[in-house]
């Protein structure tokens, strides 16, 4: 097993390198970061020329990548624009743990910009994931046990409805209904967005209230999909010989369902959830935007539109590393849970 883990980790190095090259080229080809600087009025040509030079954007793409990867403190750069390199570089590079400074929040380390948002994204995504798994299991098992009943048909219908609705639609409709209309009808209502209301302060209750609608928007679509998955695997397992044997032995129904059937039926779910976990870091772009949730999904969107390579590359590389690590953990967990699987 140790050899397997070491081999997988060594394989990850060239993989990450290729991913970083592809992403860097794509990112730097997606517009000029100093073309508008986020303003209504475009910057003057003299300023664009100066900033392009000072931010190192005038260098060939491969030089920019090398500086991003290994830094430029081993060489000299031209700061005064006279065409002669005279100032030692300051960048340390990703391999020495520095993702560079943001081009939008000037002078601020890209990783600092990202780390400010990750806790909020994890809070939103983990709560959503727990809600999704809980309700998927409950609905999936319930539906499988009552196959072809009226309730099963109803759940199936609702699942397809939920699965076919785009998140932005669920988000906006739920916001208008539970936040805007409920308030105007004099009913208890939820906030429209953000993390807390200024008048109330940053309290756990406020954060919880502000989580309800975004979590619901994310969960509705996923529960619809996952519950179908659980239902199908449960039905498959319930037809297995060992379940019949368990019944014949006179075990209690609850024991059969939860200990024998559900445990085995939920094994494939481990793979899906294992792949979901690294994506938690990326946040939910649409939901975070609509509900003004300060997570990495929104950060990514805001900084991609400004061509902020250091921050965007930081987010993407974090996700890439997390995907590789969690895939490995998933594989190991799978082997741990299912003794028939062996890695050599």
């Amino acid at each position: 097993m140790t050899r397997y883990i070491v081999r997988r980790l060594l394989q990850a190095i060239p993989l990450l390198f290729i991913i970083s090259v592809v992403l860097f080229i794509l990112m730097r080809s997606s517009g000029d970061p100093v073309a508008t600087l986020g303003g209504r009025r475009n910057p003057r040509p003299e300023d664009r020329q100066r900033l392009t030079r000072l931010l190192g954007l005038d260098q060939p793409l491969y030089v920019q990548y090398i500086y991003w990867l290994i830094g430029n403190d081993w060489t000299m750069i031209d700061v005064d624009g006279d065409g002669v390199v005279e100032t030692p570089g300051q960048q340390k590079g990703v391999l020495r743990g520095e993702f560079g400074t943001s081009l939008v929040v000037r002078g601020k380390p890209a990783m600092e910009v990202i780390l400010e948002r990750i806790p909020y994204t994890l809070l939103l995504m983990i709560v959503s994931e727990v809600v999704i798994i809980f309700f998927s299991l409950v609905i999936g098992v319930f539906s499988a046990l009552r196959q072809y009943s009226l309730l099963d048909h109803l759940i199936t219908g609702l699942s397809f409805l939920g699965y076919s609705m785009p998140i932005f639609f669920v988000a906006l409709v739920s916001m208008y209904l539970f936040a805007v209309e409920f308030k105007s009808w004099g009913l208890p209502y939820l906030p429209t967005g953000g993390v807390f209301e200024p008048q109330e302060g940053n309290t756990p209750l406020q954060v919880a209230l502000h989580l309800v609608l975004p979590v619901m928007s994310i969960a509705v679509v996923s529960i619809a999909g996952y519950s179908r998955f659980v239902r199908a695997t449960m039905l498959e397992v319930l037809g297995e010989d060992y379940i019949r044997t368990a019944r014949a032995k006179g075990l209690r129904k609850r024991t059969i369902i939860f200990l024998h059937a559900l445990k085995n039926a939920s094994l494939p779910l481990v793979t899906i959830v294992g792949l979901d976990i690294p994506m938690l870091l990326g946040g939910a772009v649409v939901t975070e935007r609509i509900f003004a949730w300060p997570g990495t999904g929104r950060l990514f969107l805001d900084h991609v539109s400004r061509g902020d390579t250091p921050v965007v590359m930081g987010i993407l590389m974090l996700i890439a590393v997390a995907v590789i690590i969690f895939q490995l953990i998933t594989d190991i967990t799978y082997a741990w849970l299912d003794p028939r699987i062996r890695y050599t």
Partner: protein, 579 residues
Amino acid sequence: MKSKLWKIVAAWVVITMLASSAACVTPAEPTKTPAPTQAPTTAPAATKAPQPTAVEPTKAAPTKKIVTFAWTQEPDSLNPWYTNMWFSTTLHQLFLAWAWEFDDKNVPFPRLVTEIPSLENGGVSPDGLTITMHLRDDIVWSDGKPITSADFVFTYDMVMAEANSVTSKYPYDYLESIEAPDERTVVMHFSKPFAAWKSLFWRGILPRHVLEPVFQAKGSLQEAEWNMAPTVGCGPYNFAEWESGSYIRFVKNPNYWGPAPKIDEIYFKIVPDDASQTAALIAGDADVGAFIPLSDVPTLKEKGVIIMVESSGYAEGLFFNFRDMANPGARDLNVRRAIAMAIDREAINRDLLLGLSHAPETLWDPLAVYGYVSPDIVPWKYDPAAAKDLLEKAGWIDRDGDGIRENARGEKLTLVYGTTIREIRQDTQAVIQQQLKQVGIELKLVSQEADIFFGSFSDGAACAVGSVDIMQWSDAPYFPDPDKDYWLCDQIPNADNPWGWNYFGCDPRLDELFKKQLTLMDEKERAKVIQEISKYMHDQVYWYGLWDDPDYWAVNARLTGVKFSGVTPLYNVAEWDVK
């Protein structure tokens, strides 16, 4: 069997708890904005930023008057020289007063100076080469230190220092020198008159006593904490905290030298989605919103939200490329005039913009009150029959019967029409494409992200290399100044000048007039030249107005005393109150 079930449960609990603990504990630390260590603390109330965390909530007292803005874009920096964003500069009037600001009629009034320099009061020398400013005696930074002429000189030095790599050196690079003969006097020297000075100079100053030590220690202000946490300022409010992606909070400045503000705290809540902003305004979760989508205006009004419209000089229009590489049609004045008559602007304003806007004739229509628009201009009228006649007479005839006109050389009247990806622009493209098709002009549509559309010549960007014949966006002069310098001939982008921004062409007459107006310090004389420019550009159809593009503000009816300016929108925020 049972132990394996426990393994599953244990694995889940551990993963969830680890992740949850990261989520619940860490928000407090990385998100709070530390108070800059270099800030002096003679007046602690003004300088020390409260740092609420998830552990220690900032429970606001119920009696506090709090106003919340829904801000659709998060500022990138609060230092005026590290931003180009409207959403950043608009905050200045809270914490960083300008030397002079502009009221709801966009008329300047003095803030840090005793009076605005002019030829009449001797502040501007007769030759226009020297401008002298006298500072008020009572102005102090929020930490109690006096604001002096040294702060102005320091600001100039910091803007010009290459190591600071500020967003723009303009217009400070016009200055020959600056001096501070005494603590309350600042003298600016120019090598040639610069008529646009009033709109562009001293949009904020930097506190020397805070930032000079940073510059000396680090060699640059780029990483100064003050940029993101300007706890020492000179406006009615003090910066308190900035929680990334969430909100920026301002509190009353106890050392403010003007009339005391009435609102206790002001939040700028970052709400990036237009529909969510509207929902927040209707639900009362936000009191003020900016850049309201026109389609939401009727709903907001219906719900009792007050809509206020303030011109900031912007107008949406078509720019024509008459450079050599453009289609011969775009270079032909008759074709441009035919296009001006073939577009039904009234229908566009009525159907796409709900009748809330109207078509301007010149780039200076939003400044018409200053007399910059020639009274001799005859507006273009929608007349497709006349457009067809004009094209026929100019030799643009559909010779092959495909519905598209050609000239005698067989070159088709097929123009490339590009804009950015904003939805209303793409809708307009489709409408204009249909309207011009009726007169035999074919349009090929292009829409790109702004950062790509406005890229440089070396990037091969559409505007710069001239691969588009018609371009559309919203722009303004240096409002309320009438100058717009991208029409100059030396601004045409090419391999030697890849960042040039004259995407249209070189017209020597226009070049001469634009250069001339910038040297005229007499406002009446200058207005005459601008009038000449406006008429010439209108008749040459170098720019064709589609709709005026003022700022739409949405204000909760519980607020009183609210006024907006197009230049310094929150100029009277200290007078705002809640019912």
